[in-house]
């Protein structure tokens, strides 16, 4: 079964608005990562938050992690048309495991 599930599956907003995407997972994690994928392209790493961290910022991105609720959120502030992409959360679980488990993604459309 899927470890990470993003919500919503699709999100459409106007340029300048904030976009919030959520990720829920099932088992304890070592870290949680967010990636962006433009259509037909490879994934680009956005931010990594460790299990002992609660919030992290990078430019217009803000990520929170609530390990008690097994959930994370990605906030993109003042969105731009160039933010249009799919956003995936990925979780690393288990000691020594090389596997990152990716969700199905949230497809974000920012309308100019």
């Amino acid at each position: 079964s899927q470890q990470g599930e993003e919500d919503p599956q699709a999100l459409s907003i106007q340029e300048g608005e904030n976009a919030t995407m959520n990720c829920s997972y099932k088992t304890s994690i070592n870290n949680l990562q967010w990636y962006r994928q433009n259509s037909g392209r490879g994934l680009v790493h956005l931010i990594l938050i460790r299990s002992n961290e609660r919030e992290k910022h990078s430019g217009r991105l803000r990520v929170t992690l609530d390990t008690s609720k097994k959930s994370s959120s990605l906030l993109i502030t003042a969105s731009r048309a160039a933010d249009t992409a799919s956003y995936f959360c990925a979780t690393g679980v288990g000691a020594g495991s090389y596997q990152l488990t990716f969700g199905k993604g949230t497809k974000l459309s920012v309308i100019p």
Binding site: Q2, G4, N30, N31, Q33, Y35, G40, R41, G42, L43, V44, H45, L48, F88, A90, G92, V93, G96, S97, Y98, Q99, L100, F102, G103, K104, G105
Partner: protein, 114 residues
């Protein structure tokens, strides 16, 4: 700086034909290397990973195999393609003994099996 290359970018192959996709990384040494497959509208499925030359671990038993003949080269192969092998194949790398750190992805190869 490090860069990762994948080729070809797009491939259309008949069922039953062989496959060879190549991935190379520049600007780093002894990377961990990964092959993923992404079906349309889905997340990524880890297929293989390698922590060194000749060392391959398979996450999902299937019609595919992987090889690492050189430190920064990772090859995905199949002897006979199935329709279900269609998808977007992504190669990724990272460094270090902690395998779940940030991964850096190539541009991908879109494979269509007809």
């Amino acid at each position: 700086s490090q860069t990762i290359h994948q080729w070809p970018a797009t491939l259309v192959q008949p069922v039953g034909s062989p496959l060879s996709l190549e991935c190379t990384v520049e600007g780093t040494s002894n990377p961990n290397l990964y092959w993923y497959r992404q079906a349309a509208g889905r997340g990524l499925q880890l297929l293989f990973y390698s922590v060194g030359i000749g060392q391959i671990s398979s996450e999902v038993p299937q019609n595919l195999s992987a090889s690492r003949p050189q430190d920064r080269q990772f090859i995905l192969s199949s002897k006979k393609l199935l329709l279900s092998d269609s998808g977007f194949y992504l190669c990724a790398w990272n460094l270090g003994q902690v395998p779940q750190e940030t991964q850096y992805f190539g541009p991908g190869t879109r494979l269509l099996v007809l």
